[in-house]
């Protein structure tokens, strides 16, 4: 009877469908690896899993491009699994499934400094080498290496560039994301310190836009109403930046209030090209992924990883089209 077979048939169809998609992803990395790693052609590929922070994020998507290229260059079979949301609750089931697939190494961008510790330790118990990328877990024994960049450096760079834009004189303000996020809190602290180091510059304070352009626009509008002396704004991520652009436009202050945004998503690059934004803080997301795979290979070879991450750059209209900036610092929606 048909009714009995409906779910069974669906299982079959599902496996056909996802089977096609999985072989596509897996075989491309292994075949790339086979082509380029001529010297190690006969050896079994090293199996590495990469678990970024969250889906739909340009930074992580670009880091995956770097990780895939590193896999292709080094005979690595790379499995990338991205949580649907930025939380330990979404990341742990992925880690436990990866444990069962028994890779040689696992690179994790921790979505929570505490919540994923037990799962990482379980992976280590199964003989999997665990590295954390950028952010870290509180219990350092849950990973053997953390590849990171000083989180505040981008904010410091933004502060220094803002002082240059304003001729070392003027009031500044930060539109931030949410309190308690390590990376954006560090950016704000770095910016504040850089501004306070310049005698003619002042720092009015920060407001939070809750990772939402509309809320960020409201907050920036209110800040500009309350403190009309503000001449420079630093937005610590894309959504804060989109809100700041809107607020400055609707208050007819384009060009009068200088704006620096963190990150280099398509939207932010377009804003830079249109003149709504003065500069972007570009992170080399590509090399986060590439270097993470290299560091893991060093660990698997029994060495102490020596890989480091390049620092942020200030992207303006003038250097936007430099090949290096385009290749390394502009976030990608799809890997080339």
């Amino acid at each position: 009877m048909i009714k009995f077979h409906a779910p069974l048939a669906l299982v079959g169809v599902l496996f056909l469908a996802v089977g096609c998609s999985s072989t596509e992803g897996a075989s491309s990395s292994t075949s790339d690896a086979a082509e380029s790693a001529a010297s190690t052609e006969t050896s079994e590929p090293t199996r590495i899993a990469y678990i970024p922070g969250v889906q739909g994020d340009a930074f992580f998507a670009t880091s995956v491009c770097g990780a895939q290229d590193a896999a292709g260059d080094n005979n690595v079979d790379l499995d990338v699994q991205v949580p649907a949301e930025f939380s330990a609750q979404a990341q742990v089931p992925i880690i436990t499934a990866i444990i069962a697939s028994a890779p040689d190494g696992m690179i994790v961008f921790p979505d929570d400094p505490v919540g994923i510790t037990a799962a990482l330790k379980q992976a280590q118990d199964e003989g999997i080498v665990v590295h954390t990328l950028s952010a870290d877990v509180e219990d350092k024994s849950a990973r053997s290496f953390n590849l990171k960049q000083d989180l505040g450096v981008g904010g410091t760079l933004a502060g220094e560039e803002m002082a240059k834009l304003l001729g070392d004189s003027g009031a500044t303000f930060v539109i931030n994301v949410k309190p308690g996020i390590g990376s954006t809190d560090a950016r704000e602290a770095g910016f504040r310190a850089a501004i306070e180091a310049v005698p003619g510059m002042t720092y009015v304070g920060q407001r939070f836009g809750n990772n939402d352009p509309t809320e960020s626009a409201k907050q920036v509008t209110a800040a500009l109403q309350a403190n009309p002396e503000i001449k420079g704004i630093y937005a610590t991520n894309l959504f804060a930046g989109l809100g700041a652009i809107t607020a400055i436009k609707q208050m007819d202050l384009v060009g009068k209030v200088r704006l620096i945004l963190h990150d280099t998503t398509t939207e932010e690059v377009e804003a830079l090209e249109s003149g709504a934004v003065d500069g972007l803080i570009g992170t080399n997301a590509y090399s986060y992924g590439y270097s993470a795979v290299e560091a893991m290979l060093q660990s698997l070879d029994g060495q102490e990883p020596t890989v480091t991450l390049p620092s942020e750059v200030f992207v303006t209209k003038a250097n936007l089209n430099d090949p290096d900036i385009q290749a390394q610092y502009i976030y990608k929606n799809a890997c080339s």
């Binding site: 009714k3 669906l10 299982v11 599902l14 999985s22 499995d79 949301e85 499934a97 919540g115």
Partner: protein
């Protein structure tokens, strides 16, 4: 104990068997689960390892606990979209109590999680039943309210500082080799299965969901019953919060805003009707297992994350279609029996 005993005529054994099968819509779903497990095992033998299966169970324990209570509510003809919000708010409330450096903070914190869930659940119940507002809208509003308050209380971030004893003696404890949260889920399932099948409360629950006005005419206080069930859903969300903070050592609000999708999906895949009157705890457990196995197995096969969401969605749709088809067959079979009886 639902339509099987209420419906007329079980004398014809062939027809009784047929109805019995039609009344157990989760049997083919169980078949689908087993088939899925066979395929995943062929693809990667590690799938069937005891460790992996126990990990899947632990990963699904919170969703499972909320799905059990949701099953009872759906059978009674209600729905609660705020389960994830109640979990988040309960977890945050408990975590805040845990910050107090006193020996009583642990038991009081646990109690606070249960009470928070029950209080929000009772608000849902009173608003839907006594103010006669549609549960879909009331509980959607409550999802926003609970998540908002939880964010406010936690300043938008996760709250750590959960007592170590919660993870060591519960979250990661393995009595008899089985994760304690899984044992708790199975114990709650056993209790609810007995309550639904063998108590007056269970019979009323099916009766109210099948035909509320008929149940009320026969003297059942449907309002009181429904409020009780909404409180139970809140209480179970509080229990899920205890599992959550014990396993993740942090109370994170963002993680639970979409929990309701998995919770309702598990119940519906397991054969519970969104229109009330039909559903089994066993079916929901199978539904929970399917969601957990599907996610884990697809990751093991190296399937890309976006396709996993598509696969889960497709499975839910197919299960809905199948249950709808079977339900129409069941009603047709019943009306034939009634006709037959009338002619005699």
């Amino acid at each position: 104990m639902n339509a099987e005993t209420v419906a007329p005529d079980a004398s014809n054994s062939a027809s009784a068997l047929r109805r019995r099968v039609l009344d157990t819509p989760w049997l083919p779903i169980l078949g689908a689960l087993l088939l899925m497990m066979v395929i995943f095992t062929v693809a990667n033998p590690n799938f069937l390892s005891t460790k992996n299966l126990l990990n899947i169970g632990a990963d699904m324990s919170q969703i499972g606990v909320m799905a059990l209570a949701t099953t009872v509510l759906l059978i009674a003809g209600g729905i609660d979209l705020s389960v994830g919000g109640m979990l988040a708010l309960s977890a945050v409330t408990g975590a805040l109590v845990f910050q107090i450096d006193q020996p009583w903070a642990l038991p009081v914190g646990i109690l606070a999680m249960l009470v928070t869930g029950a209080v929000v659940g009772s608000a849902n119940g009173f608003l839907t039943v006594y103010a006669n507002l549609p549960p879909f809208v009331v509980t959607l509003a409550m999802l926003g309210i609970t998540v908002g308050i939880a964010y406010q209380l936690s300043n938008g971030t996760g709250i750590s500082g959960i007592p170590e004893v919660l993870s060591s003696s519960f979250g990661f404890a393995r009595p008899f080799g089985i994760p304690a949260p899984v044992l708790l889920l199975l114990a709650l399932a056993a209790v609810l299965a007995v309550v639904l099948s063998s108590t007056r409360f269970g019979i009323r629950n099916y009766a109210i969901g099948s035909n509320r006005s008929a149940a009320e005419r026969s003297g059942v206080d449907a309002r009181k019953h429904l409020v009780t069930v909404y409180v139970m859903v809140g209480l179970f969300s509080g229990i899920a919060a205890i599992i959550d903070v014990s396993r993740f050592s942090t109370a994170a609000v963002a993680a639970h805003q979409t929990d309701v999708l998995a919770v309702v999906s598990a119940a519906v895949i397991g054969g519970t009707s969104l229109f009330g009157g039909i559903g089994r705890i066993g079916g929901t457990l199978v539904g929970v297992a399917i969601i957990g196995v599907l996610t884990n197995g697809l990751i093991l096969m190296g399937v890309q994350p976006y396709m996993q969401q598509v696969a889960t969605g497709l499975f839910l749709l197919a299960a809905l279609l199948m249950h709808r088809f079977r339900e129409s067959r069941r009603l047709a079979a019943r009306s034939q029996v009634t006709k037959f009886n009338t002619h005699n």
